[in-house]
Amino acid sequence: MNIKDNIKTIIIKKPLKLDCGQIIKNFPLAYETYGSLNEKKDNAILVCHALTGDQFVTGLNPITKKDGWWSYAVGPNKSIDTNKYFIICANVIGGCMGSFGPGHTNPETKKIYGTDFPVITINDIVNAQVNLLDYFGIKKLFSVVGGSMGGMQVLQFVSNFPEKAKTAVPIACTSSHSAQNIAFNELGRQAITADHNWSDGKYFSNNSVPEKGLAVARMAAHITYLSKKGLQEKFGRKLQERDNIKFGFDADFQIESYLRYQGSVFVDRFDANSYLYITRAMDYFDLVKQFNGNLSNAFKNSKTKFFVISFTSDWLYPTQENKDIVIALNAIGADVGFVEIESDKGHDSFLLNVPDFLKTLKNFLDKSYLEK
Protein backbone atom coordinates (compact mmCIF):
# COMPACT_ATOMS: atom_id res chain seq x y z
CA MET A 1 0.00 0.00 0.00
CA ASN A 2 1.21 3.46 -0.87
CA ILE A 3 2.04 5.49 2.22
CA LYS A 4 0.07 8.38 0.74
CA ASP A 5 -3.12 6.29 0.82
CA ASN A 6 -3.48 7.24 4.50
CA ILE A 7 -3.86 10.91 3.71
CA LYS A 8 -7.29 12.33 4.57
CA THR A 9 -9.03 13.36 1.41
CA ILE A 10 -12.41 14.62 0.32
CA ILE A 11 -13.61 14.40 -3.25
CA ILE A 12 -14.98 17.70 -4.50
CA LYS A 13 -17.88 16.74 -6.72
CA LYS A 14 -19.02 20.29 -7.45
CA PRO A 15 -17.48 21.56 -10.70
CA LEU A 16 -14.88 24.28 -10.20
CA LYS A 17 -14.25 26.68 -13.02
CA LEU A 18 -10.57 27.55 -13.01
CA ASP A 19 -9.22 30.97 -14.02
CA CYS A 20 -7.67 29.37 -17.09
CA GLY A 21 -11.16 28.43 -18.27
CA GLN A 22 -11.05 24.68 -17.64
CA ILE A 23 -13.59 23.08 -15.36
CA ILE A 24 -12.53 20.43 -12.89
CA LYS A 25 -14.83 18.16 -10.88
CA ASN A 26 -14.67 15.05 -8.74
CA PHE A 27 -11.17 15.97 -7.74
CA PRO A 28 -9.41 15.10 -4.47
CA LEU A 29 -8.55 17.66 -1.82
CA ALA A 30 -6.20 16.37 0.86
CA TYR A 31 -6.33 17.93 4.30
CA GLU A 32 -5.39 17.51 7.94
CA THR A 33 -6.96 18.86 11.11
CA TYR A 34 -5.72 19.51 14.64
CA GLY A 35 -7.68 20.18 17.82
CA SER A 36 -11.44 19.81 17.89
CA LEU A 37 -14.35 21.73 16.50
CA ASN A 38 -16.57 23.09 19.27
CA GLU A 39 -20.35 22.79 19.31
CA LYS A 40 -20.96 26.29 18.01
CA LYS A 41 -18.41 25.61 15.29
CA ASP A 42 -16.90 29.03 15.84
CA ASN A 43 -13.35 28.02 16.74
CA ALA A 44 -12.05 26.94 13.34
CA ILE A 45 -8.87 28.35 11.85
CA LEU A 46 -7.94 27.71 8.26
CA VAL A 47 -4.17 27.64 7.91
CA CYS A 48 -2.88 28.17 4.38
CA HIS A 49 0.48 26.70 3.51
CA ALA A 50 3.31 28.24 1.51
CA LEU A 51 4.95 27.09 -1.73
CA THR A 52 6.58 23.92 -0.45
CA GLY A 53 4.37 23.28 2.57
CA ASP A 54 1.60 20.77 2.93
CA GLN A 55 -1.39 19.99 5.13
CA PHE A 56 0.78 18.52 7.90
CA VAL A 57 1.16 21.74 9.83
CA THR A 58 2.45 20.44 13.13
CA GLY A 59 3.53 17.31 14.91
CA LEU A 60 5.18 14.55 12.95
CA ASN A 61 4.56 14.65 9.23
CA PRO A 62 3.54 11.03 8.52
CA ILE A 63 5.00 11.12 5.01
CA THR A 64 8.33 12.87 5.52
CA LYS A 65 8.75 11.71 9.15
CA LYS A 66 9.89 15.22 10.00
CA ASP A 67 8.28 17.93 12.13
CA GLY A 68 5.38 19.74 10.51
CA TRP A 69 6.35 22.99 8.81
CA TRP A 70 4.69 25.25 11.39
CA SER A 71 5.45 23.30 14.56
CA TYR A 72 6.73 26.47 16.25
CA ALA A 73 3.41 28.26 15.83
CA VAL A 74 0.80 25.52 15.96
CA GLY A 75 0.23 23.13 18.86
CA PRO A 76 -1.05 22.91 22.42
CA ASN A 77 -0.70 26.36 24.10
CA LYS A 78 1.22 27.67 21.11
CA SER A 79 0.37 30.75 19.01
CA ILE A 80 -2.35 28.85 17.19
CA ASP A 81 -3.48 26.84 20.16
CA THR A 82 -4.75 23.37 19.30
CA ASN A 83 -6.32 23.15 22.78
CA LYS A 84 -8.59 26.04 21.86
CA TYR A 85 -8.99 26.02 18.13
CA PHE A 86 -9.83 23.57 15.39
CA ILE A 87 -7.13 23.92 12.78
CA ILE A 88 -7.73 22.89 9.19
CA CYS A 89 -5.10 22.87 6.50
CA ALA A 90 -5.55 21.68 2.94
CA ASN A 91 -2.85 20.72 0.51
CA VAL A 92 -3.15 23.23 -2.33
CA ILE A 93 -4.43 21.97 -5.65
CA GLY A 94 -1.45 21.62 -7.96
CA GLY A 95 0.45 20.26 -4.97
CA CYS A 96 1.91 16.82 -4.38
CA MET A 97 0.58 15.73 -0.99
CA GLY A 98 -2.69 14.18 -2.07
CA SER A 99 -4.63 17.09 -3.57
CA PHE A 100 -5.41 17.18 -7.26
CA GLY A 101 -2.10 17.87 -8.96
CA PRO A 102 0.10 17.20 -11.97
CA GLY A 103 1.16 13.85 -10.50
CA HIS A 104 -2.41 12.54 -10.73
CA THR A 105 -3.70 10.34 -13.52
CA ASN A 106 -5.95 11.89 -16.09
CA PRO A 107 -9.03 9.62 -16.08
CA GLU A 108 -9.60 10.23 -19.77
CA THR A 109 -6.14 9.38 -21.05
CA LYS A 110 -5.16 7.11 -18.11
CA LYS A 111 -1.84 8.92 -18.15
CA ILE A 112 -0.24 11.08 -15.52
CA TYR A 113 -1.12 14.71 -16.22
CA GLY A 114 2.35 16.22 -16.05
CA THR A 115 2.20 19.51 -17.92
CA ASP A 116 -1.25 18.64 -19.26
CA PHE A 117 -2.51 19.61 -15.84
CA PRO A 118 -4.35 22.94 -16.03
CA VAL A 119 -2.47 26.02 -14.83
CA ILE A 120 -3.97 27.00 -11.51
CA THR A 121 -4.07 30.29 -9.60
CA ILE A 122 -4.25 31.37 -5.97
CA ASN A 123 -7.92 32.10 -6.66
CA ASP A 124 -8.45 28.49 -7.79
CA ILE A 125 -6.58 27.17 -4.75
CA VAL A 126 -8.82 29.17 -2.41
CA ASN A 127 -12.00 28.24 -4.25
CA ALA A 128 -11.06 24.58 -3.90
CA GLN A 129 -10.28 24.68 -0.20
CA VAL A 130 -13.43 26.58 0.80
CA ASN A 131 -15.21 23.27 0.21
CA LEU A 132 -13.70 22.04 3.47
CA LEU A 133 -15.82 24.56 5.37
CA ASP A 134 -18.98 23.01 3.94
CA TYR A 135 -17.62 19.56 4.68
CA PHE A 136 -17.21 20.42 8.37
CA GLY A 137 -20.40 22.50 8.50
CA ILE A 138 -18.52 25.67 9.36
CA LYS A 139 -20.36 28.86 8.39
CA LYS A 140 -17.68 31.25 9.51
CA LEU A 141 -14.04 30.63 10.36
CA PHE A 142 -12.67 32.24 13.47
CA SER A 143 -9.57 33.00 11.44
CA VAL A 144 -7.72 32.39 8.22
CA VAL A 145 -3.96 32.52 8.68
CA GLY A 146 -0.95 32.04 6.45
CA GLY A 147 2.52 33.26 5.59
CA SER A 148 4.12 33.90 2.21
CA MET A 149 1.96 32.18 -0.43
CA GLY A 150 -0.28 31.24 2.49
CA GLY A 151 -0.77 34.98 3.11
CA MET A 152 -1.79 35.48 -0.50
CA GLN A 153 -4.44 32.82 -0.01
CA VAL A 154 -5.62 34.63 3.12
CA LEU A 155 -6.12 37.85 1.13
CA GLN A 156 -7.85 36.03 -1.72
CA PHE A 157 -10.02 34.09 0.71
CA VAL A 158 -11.39 37.20 2.43
CA SER A 159 -11.88 38.86 -0.93
CA ASN A 160 -13.80 35.88 -2.34
CA PHE A 161 -15.71 35.07 0.83
CA PRO A 162 -16.11 38.30 2.81
CA GLU A 163 -18.53 36.73 5.28
CA LYS A 164 -16.58 33.57 6.00
CA ALA A 165 -13.79 34.78 8.29
CA LYS A 166 -14.03 36.73 11.54
CA THR A 167 -10.32 37.52 11.49
CA ALA A 168 -7.52 37.22 8.95
CA VAL A 169 -3.77 37.17 9.45
CA PRO A 170 -1.72 37.59 6.27
CA ILE A 171 1.97 37.24 7.18
CA ALA A 172 5.07 38.19 5.16
CA CYS A 173 3.20 38.38 1.89
CA THR A 174 2.11 40.67 -0.90
CA SER A 175 -1.03 41.58 -2.79
CA SER A 176 0.80 41.43 -6.09
CA HIS A 177 3.82 39.31 -7.01
CA SER A 178 6.70 41.64 -7.87
CA ALA A 179 9.07 41.39 -10.84
CA GLN A 180 11.76 40.19 -8.44
CA ASN A 181 9.46 37.47 -7.08
CA ILE A 182 8.62 36.33 -10.60
CA ALA A 183 12.29 36.42 -11.55
CA PHE A 184 13.30 34.07 -8.75
CA ASN A 185 10.45 31.71 -9.55
CA GLU A 186 11.43 31.69 -13.22
CA LEU A 187 14.99 30.81 -12.22
CA GLY A 188 13.64 27.79 -10.35
CA ARG A 189 11.43 26.71 -13.20
CA GLN A 190 14.26 27.05 -15.71
CA ALA A 191 16.48 24.89 -13.50
CA ILE A 192 13.83 22.16 -13.50
CA THR A 193 12.98 22.26 -17.17
CA ALA A 194 16.68 22.40 -18.15
CA ASP A 195 17.24 19.07 -16.41
CA HIS A 196 16.99 16.56 -19.26
CA ASN A 197 15.32 14.10 -16.90
CA TRP A 198 12.36 16.46 -16.81
CA SER A 199 11.39 15.24 -20.32
CA ASP A 200 8.72 17.88 -20.91
CA GLY A 201 7.16 16.91 -17.61
CA LYS A 202 6.70 13.24 -18.56
CA TYR A 203 9.38 11.96 -16.22
CA PHE A 204 6.98 9.61 -14.43
CA SER A 205 6.90 7.27 -17.39
CA ASN A 206 10.71 7.26 -17.61
CA ASN A 207 11.23 6.57 -13.93
CA SER A 208 13.82 9.33 -13.85
CA VAL A 209 13.04 12.37 -11.79
CA PRO A 210 14.67 15.78 -12.57
CA GLU A 211 16.40 15.75 -9.21
CA LYS A 212 19.25 18.05 -10.13
CA GLY A 213 17.00 20.73 -11.55
CA LEU A 214 14.59 20.61 -8.64
CA ALA A 215 17.48 20.74 -6.16
CA VAL A 216 18.94 23.81 -7.86
CA ALA A 217 15.50 25.45 -7.84
CA ARG A 218 15.28 24.80 -4.12
CA MET A 219 18.80 26.07 -3.46
CA ALA A 220 18.14 29.33 -5.27
CA ALA A 221 14.81 29.80 -3.55
CA HIS A 222 16.29 28.96 -0.17
CA ILE A 223 18.72 31.88 -0.44
CA THR A 224 15.77 34.23 -0.92
CA TYR A 225 14.20 32.99 2.31
CA LEU A 226 17.21 34.05 4.40
CA SER A 227 18.79 37.41 5.08
CA LYS A 228 22.35 38.37 4.24
CA LYS A 229 23.03 39.04 7.90
CA GLY A 230 21.50 35.73 8.95
CA LEU A 231 23.62 33.83 6.43
CA GLN A 232 26.75 35.70 7.41
CA GLU A 233 26.22 35.00 11.10
CA LYS A 234 25.39 31.34 10.62
CA PHE A 235 27.98 30.46 7.98
CA GLY A 236 30.30 33.35 7.31
CA ARG A 237 33.23 31.94 5.34
CA LYS A 238 33.45 28.83 7.49
CA LEU A 239 34.88 25.81 5.71
CA GLN A 240 33.20 22.43 5.50
CA GLU A 241 35.18 19.70 7.31
CA ARG A 242 38.48 21.00 6.01
CA ASP A 243 41.19 23.37 7.20
CA ASN A 244 41.87 25.03 3.87
CA ILE A 245 40.25 25.66 0.54
CA LYS A 246 40.91 22.83 -1.91
CA PHE A 247 41.20 24.72 -5.20
CA GLY A 248 38.34 22.76 -6.70
CA PHE A 249 34.58 22.75 -6.99
CA ASP A 250 33.64 20.57 -4.05
CA ALA A 251 31.70 22.21 -1.27
CA ASP A 252 34.60 24.03 0.41
CA PHE A 253 32.31 26.37 2.30
CA GLN A 254 29.67 25.39 4.83
CA ILE A 255 27.08 27.48 3.04
CA GLU A 256 27.64 25.41 -0.12
CA SER A 257 27.27 22.18 1.75
CA TYR A 258 24.18 23.49 3.52
CA LEU A 259 22.50 24.49 0.27
CA ARG A 260 23.36 21.17 -1.37
CA TYR A 261 21.80 19.40 1.59
CA GLN A 262 18.67 21.57 1.40
CA GLY A 263 18.39 20.73 -2.29
CA SER A 264 18.88 17.01 -1.83
CA VAL A 265 16.33 16.54 0.94
CA PHE A 266 13.79 18.61 -0.97
CA VAL A 267 13.71 16.30 -4.00
CA ASP A 268 12.70 13.41 -1.74
CA ARG A 269 9.52 15.12 -0.70
CA PHE A 270 8.51 17.40 -3.54
CA ASP A 271 7.41 16.94 -7.11
CA ALA A 272 9.10 18.98 -9.83
CA ASN A 273 5.93 19.59 -11.84
CA SER A 274 4.10 20.73 -8.70
CA TYR A 275 6.93 23.20 -8.20
CA LEU A 276 6.31 24.59 -11.68
CA TYR A 277 2.58 24.87 -11.15
CA ILE A 278 2.61 26.40 -7.71
CA THR A 279 5.28 28.99 -8.50
CA ARG A 280 3.18 29.93 -11.53
CA ALA A 281 0.13 30.38 -9.33
CA MET A 282 2.16 32.77 -7.17
CA ASP A 283 3.41 34.73 -10.18
CA TYR A 284 -0.10 35.16 -11.50
CA PHE A 285 -1.27 36.50 -8.15
CA ASP A 286 -2.21 40.14 -8.53
CA LEU A 287 -5.14 41.12 -6.36
CA VAL A 288 -4.54 44.77 -7.24
CA LYS A 289 -5.08 44.11 -10.93
CA GLN A 290 -8.02 41.84 -10.18
CA PHE A 291 -9.71 44.87 -8.66
CA ASN A 292 -8.74 47.27 -11.44
CA GLY A 293 -5.84 48.85 -9.64
CA ASN A 294 -7.63 49.49 -6.35
CA LEU A 295 -6.76 46.90 -3.72
CA SER A 296 -9.27 48.40 -1.28
CA ASN A 297 -12.09 47.11 -3.44
CA ALA A 298 -10.93 43.55 -2.77
CA PHE A 299 -12.06 43.97 0.83
CA LYS A 300 -14.87 46.49 0.66
CA ASN A 301 -17.59 43.94 1.44
CA SER A 302 -15.81 42.47 4.40
CA LYS A 303 -16.12 43.07 8.13
CA THR A 304 -13.14 40.82 8.78
CA LYS A 305 -10.63 42.02 11.36
CA PHE A 306 -7.14 41.96 9.85
CA PHE A 307 -3.74 41.69 11.43
CA VAL A 308 -0.84 42.10 9.03
CA ILE A 309 2.65 41.03 10.08
CA SER A 310 5.97 41.58 8.32
CA PHE A 311 9.62 41.06 9.25
CA THR A 312 12.48 43.57 9.17
CA SER A 313 14.91 41.33 7.28
CA ASP A 314 12.41 39.88 4.77
CA TRP A 315 13.55 41.16 1.37
CA LEU A 316 11.42 38.73 -0.62
CA TYR A 317 8.12 40.14 0.64
CA PRO A 318 9.39 43.34 2.26
CA THR A 319 7.53 45.38 4.84
CA GLN A 320 6.41 47.98 2.29
CA GLU A 321 4.48 45.36 0.32
CA ASN A 322 2.76 44.23 3.51
CA LYS A 323 2.08 47.85 4.40
CA ASP A 324 0.40 48.37 1.05
CA ILE A 325 -2.23 45.89 2.22
CA VAL A 326 -2.65 47.85 5.45
CA ILE A 327 -2.97 51.12 3.52
CA ALA A 328 -5.64 49.63 1.25
CA LEU A 329 -7.58 48.44 4.29
CA ASN A 330 -7.27 51.74 6.15
CA ALA A 331 -8.48 53.58 3.06
CA ILE A 332 -11.86 51.89 3.52
CA GLY A 333 -11.90 52.11 7.30
CA ALA A 334 -11.41 48.38 7.76
CA ASP A 335 -10.34 46.98 11.12
CA VAL A 336 -6.63 46.40 10.62
CA GLY A 337 -3.63 46.09 12.90
CA PHE A 338 -0.07 45.90 11.69
CA VAL A 339 3.36 45.25 13.11
CA GLU A 340 6.80 44.68 11.63
CA ILE A 341 8.68 42.16 13.74
CA GLU A 342 12.41 42.58 14.31
CA SER A 343 14.22 39.49 13.07
CA ASP A 344 17.45 38.59 11.26
CA LYS A 345 15.97 35.39 9.90
CA GLY A 346 14.66 36.80 6.64
CA HIS A 347 11.46 35.70 4.96
CA ASP A 348 11.62 32.37 6.80
CA SER A 349 11.10 34.22 10.11
CA PHE A 350 7.45 33.23 10.20
CA LEU A 351 8.39 29.54 10.20
CA LEU A 352 11.10 29.82 12.83
CA ASN A 353 11.42 30.43 16.52
CA VAL A 354 10.95 34.20 16.60
CA PRO A 355 9.45 34.82 20.06
CA ASP A 356 8.08 38.34 19.36
CA PHE A 357 6.22 37.00 16.35
CA LEU A 358 4.90 33.88 18.06
CA LYS A 359 3.75 35.85 21.10
CA THR A 360 2.07 38.58 19.08
CA LEU A 361 0.24 36.12 16.84
CA LYS A 362 -1.01 34.30 19.93
CA ASN A 363 -2.11 37.53 21.61
CA PHE A 364 -3.98 38.68 18.55
CA LEU A 365 -5.85 35.41 18.11
CA ASP A 366 -6.64 34.81 21.76
CA LYS A 367 -7.85 38.38 22.36
CA SER A 368 -9.90 38.44 19.16
CA TYR A 369 -11.50 35.12 20.04
CA LEU A 370 -12.88 36.64 23.26
CA GLU A 371 -14.48 39.52 21.35
CA LYS A 372 -18.03 38.97 20.32
Partner: protein, 202 residues
Protein backbone atom coordinates in the same frame (compact mmCIF):
# COMPACT_ATOMS: atom_id res chain seq x y z
CA UNK B 1 -4.07 56.16 34.31
CA UNK B 2 -3.14 59.71 33.46
CA UNK B 3 -5.38 62.48 34.86
CA UNK B 4 -6.29 63.76 31.40
CA UNK B 5 -7.86 60.44 30.32
CA UNK B 6 -11.18 61.23 31.99
CA UNK B 7 -11.19 64.70 30.47
CA UNK B 8 -10.61 63.29 27.00
CA UNK B 9 -13.29 60.69 27.58
CA UNK B 10 -15.74 63.44 28.53
CA UNK B 11 -15.04 65.33 25.32
CA UNK B 12 -15.62 62.33 23.04
CA UNK B 13 -19.20 61.50 22.11
CA UNK B 14 -20.61 57.97 22.10
CA UNK B 15 -20.44 55.80 18.97
CA UNK B 16 -17.71 57.88 17.41
CA UNK B 17 -14.69 56.70 15.46
CA UNK B 18 -11.46 57.63 17.21
CA UNK B 19 -7.81 57.45 16.19
CA UNK B 20 -5.12 57.73 18.84
CA UNK B 21 -1.93 58.98 17.20
CA UNK B 22 1.14 57.88 19.11
CA UNK B 23 -1.01 55.61 21.26
CA UNK B 24 1.99 54.38 23.27
CA UNK B 25 1.10 51.16 25.13
CA UNK B 26 -2.62 51.71 24.57
CA UNK B 27 -3.61 52.87 28.05
CA UNK B 28 -5.82 55.70 26.82
CA UNK B 29 -7.34 53.46 24.13
CA UNK B 30 -8.15 50.85 26.76
CA UNK B 31 -9.64 53.48 29.05
CA UNK B 32 -11.84 54.88 26.30
CA UNK B 33 -12.91 51.41 25.19
CA UNK B 34 -14.02 50.58 28.71
CA UNK B 35 -15.77 53.88 29.37
CA UNK B 36 -17.32 54.77 26.06
CA UNK B 37 -18.88 52.98 23.14
CA UNK B 38 -16.29 54.00 20.59
CA UNK B 39 -14.56 52.41 17.62
CA UNK B 40 -10.95 53.18 18.42
CA UNK B 41 -7.74 52.62 16.45
CA UNK B 42 -4.17 53.49 17.22
CA UNK B 43 -0.95 54.26 15.42
CA UNK B 44 2.36 53.87 17.22
CA UNK B 45 5.95 54.09 16.07
CA UNK B 46 7.50 51.64 18.57
CA UNK B 47 7.31 47.95 17.62
CA UNK B 48 7.41 46.89 21.25
CA UNK B 49 4.53 49.16 22.15
CA UNK B 50 2.46 47.99 19.18
CA UNK B 51 2.96 44.45 20.45
CA UNK B 52 1.79 45.51 23.91
CA UNK B 53 -1.32 47.07 22.34
CA UNK B 54 -2.05 43.88 20.40
CA UNK B 55 -1.75 41.89 23.63
CA UNK B 56 -4.49 44.12 25.03
CA UNK B 57 -6.74 43.34 22.09
CA UNK B 58 -6.40 46.83 20.59
CA UNK B 59 -6.32 47.55 16.88
CA UNK B 60 -3.05 49.33 16.32
CA UNK B 61 -0.79 49.80 13.32
CA UNK B 62 2.91 50.40 13.51
CA UNK B 63 3.65 53.70 11.84
CA UNK B 64 5.01 57.20 11.95
CA UNK B 65 2.42 59.98 12.23
CA UNK B 66 4.47 62.24 9.99
CA UNK B 67 4.47 59.70 7.16
CA UNK B 68 1.67 57.25 7.72
CA UNK B 69 -1.39 59.36 8.46
CA UNK B 70 -1.74 59.99 4.76
CA UNK B 71 -3.23 56.53 4.24
CA UNK B 72 -6.38 57.59 6.08
CA UNK B 73 -9.04 59.31 3.98
CA UNK B 74 -10.29 62.81 4.78
CA UNK B 75 -12.46 62.97 7.90
CA UNK B 76 -12.38 59.20 8.34
CA UNK B 77 -12.44 59.67 12.12
CA UNK B 78 -14.68 61.76 14.35
CA UNK B 79 -11.79 62.44 16.71
CA UNK B 80 -8.07 62.16 16.31
CA UNK B 81 -6.13 62.29 19.56
CA UNK B 82 -2.55 63.46 19.88
CA UNK B 83 -1.47 63.01 23.46
CA UNK B 84 1.65 64.89 24.56
CA UNK B 85 3.59 64.13 21.41
CA UNK B 86 3.19 67.22 19.21
CA UNK B 87 6.45 68.55 20.62
CA UNK B 88 8.32 65.41 19.56
CA UNK B 89 7.69 65.71 15.82
CA UNK B 90 10.14 67.10 13.31
CA UNK B 91 7.31 69.05 11.77
CA UNK B 92 4.40 69.81 14.13
CA UNK B 93 2.86 71.89 11.34
CA UNK B 94 2.47 68.89 9.05
CA UNK B 95 1.16 66.73 11.86
CA UNK B 96 -1.50 69.26 12.88
CA UNK B 97 -2.60 69.62 9.27
CA UNK B 98 -2.85 65.85 8.93
CA UNK B 99 -4.78 65.51 12.18
CA UNK B 100 -7.32 68.05 10.99
CA UNK B 101 -7.62 66.37 7.61
CA UNK B 102 -8.09 62.83 8.93
CA UNK B 103 -10.30 63.82 11.86
CA UNK B 104 -13.41 65.94 11.94
CA UNK B 105 -12.04 67.15 15.25
CA UNK B 106 -8.73 66.69 16.99
CA UNK B 107 -7.82 66.56 20.65
CA UNK B 108 -4.29 67.75 21.30
CA UNK B 109 -2.61 67.75 24.68
CA UNK B 110 0.69 69.50 25.30
CA UNK B 111 3.03 69.58 28.28
CA UNK B 112 3.15 73.28 29.11
CA UNK B 113 6.64 74.74 28.86
CA UNK B 114 5.28 77.97 30.32
CA UNK B 115 4.78 76.40 33.75
CA UNK B 116 6.42 78.44 36.52
CA UNK B 117 8.70 75.59 37.57
CA UNK B 118 10.10 75.40 34.05
CA UNK B 119 10.58 79.16 33.99
CA UNK B 120 12.27 79.23 37.42
CA UNK B 121 14.45 76.32 36.49
CA UNK B 122 15.86 78.22 33.54
CA UNK B 123 15.96 81.53 35.36
CA UNK B 124 17.85 80.41 38.44
CA UNK B 125 19.76 77.34 37.38
CA UNK B 126 20.51 78.65 33.94
CA UNK B 127 20.17 75.13 32.50
CA UNK B 128 17.51 73.53 30.37
CA UNK B 129 14.60 72.61 32.63
CA UNK B 130 14.19 69.04 33.84
CA UNK B 131 10.86 68.46 35.58
CA UNK B 132 8.51 65.61 36.46
CA UNK B 133 6.58 65.91 33.19
CA UNK B 134 9.75 66.66 31.19
CA UNK B 135 12.32 64.31 32.73
CA UNK B 136 14.91 64.28 29.92
CA UNK B 137 18.08 66.31 29.50
CA UNK B 138 18.41 68.60 26.50
CA UNK B 139 20.69 66.16 24.68
CA UNK B 140 18.49 63.10 24.96
CA UNK B 141 15.00 64.51 25.00
CA UNK B 142 12.56 63.42 22.29
CA UNK B 143 10.85 66.78 22.80
CA UNK B 144 12.42 68.95 20.17
CA UNK B 145 9.58 71.45 19.73
CA UNK B 146 8.45 72.44 23.20
CA UNK B 147 5.75 75.07 23.43
CA UNK B 148 3.59 76.82 25.99
CA UNK B 149 -0.18 77.07 26.22
CA UNK B 150 0.11 80.62 24.95
CA UNK B 151 2.23 79.43 22.02
CA UNK B 152 -0.46 76.95 21.08
CA UNK B 153 -3.06 79.72 20.92
CA UNK B 154 -0.76 81.67 18.60
CA UNK B 155 -0.15 78.51 16.61
CA UNK B 156 -3.89 78.18 16.04
CA UNK B 157 -3.95 81.61 14.41
CA UNK B 158 -0.91 80.94 12.25
CA UNK B 159 -2.15 77.51 11.17
CA UNK B 160 -5.71 78.79 10.86
CA UNK B 161 -7.50 76.24 13.01
CA UNK B 162 -10.20 76.79 15.59
CA UNK B 163 -9.78 75.97 19.27
CA UNK B 164 -13.27 75.54 20.58
CA UNK B 165 -12.48 74.06 23.91
CA UNK B 166 -9.30 74.51 25.89
CA UNK B 167 -8.66 73.10 29.32
CA UNK B 168 -5.80 73.38 31.73
CA UNK B 169 -4.63 70.71 34.09
CA UNK B 170 -2.88 71.77 37.30
CA UNK B 171 -2.43 69.42 40.25
CA UNK B 172 -5.16 67.18 38.80
CA UNK B 173 -7.59 70.12 38.75
CA UNK B 174 -9.21 70.94 35.46
CA UNK B 175 -10.18 74.45 34.49
CA UNK B 176 -11.19 76.33 31.36
CA UNK B 177 -8.72 78.54 29.61
CA UNK B 178 -9.92 81.77 28.09
CA UNK B 179 -8.37 85.03 26.94
CA UNK B 180 -8.71 86.70 30.32
CA UNK B 181 -7.03 83.97 32.36
CA UNK B 182 -4.48 82.86 29.78
CA UNK B 183 -1.55 84.52 31.59
CA UNK B 184 -2.33 82.68 34.85
CA UNK B 185 -3.16 79.35 33.21
CA UNK B 186 0.04 79.49 31.20
CA UNK B 187 1.98 79.98 34.42
CA UNK B 188 0.34 77.34 36.61
CA UNK B 189 -0.82 74.52 34.33
CA UNK B 190 1.19 71.40 33.67
CA UNK B 191 -0.85 70.36 30.68
CA UNK B 192 -3.03 72.03 28.08
CA UNK B 193 -5.86 70.10 26.46
CA UNK B 194 -7.29 71.51 23.24
CA UNK B 195 -10.24 70.44 21.16
CA UNK B 196 -9.62 71.81 17.72
CA UNK B 197 -11.06 71.73 14.22
CA UNK B 198 -10.45 73.22 10.83
CA UNK B 199 -11.85 76.61 10.02
CA UNK B 200 -14.43 76.21 7.32
CA UNK B 201 -12.96 77.08 3.99
CA UNK B 202 -15.83 79.44 3.21
Amino acid sequence: MKPEYQIISNIITENSRVLDVGCDDGNLMEFLKQNKKVDIRGIEISKKKVQICISKGLTVIEGNAELDLKQFPNESFDYVILGQTLQAFVSPEIVIKELLRVGKKAIVTIPNFGHWKVRLNLLFKGTMPVTKTLPNDWYNTPNIHMCTIKDFFKFSEIMNFKIFNSLALANKNVSKINNSNLFIKNLFSELGIFLIEKHNEN
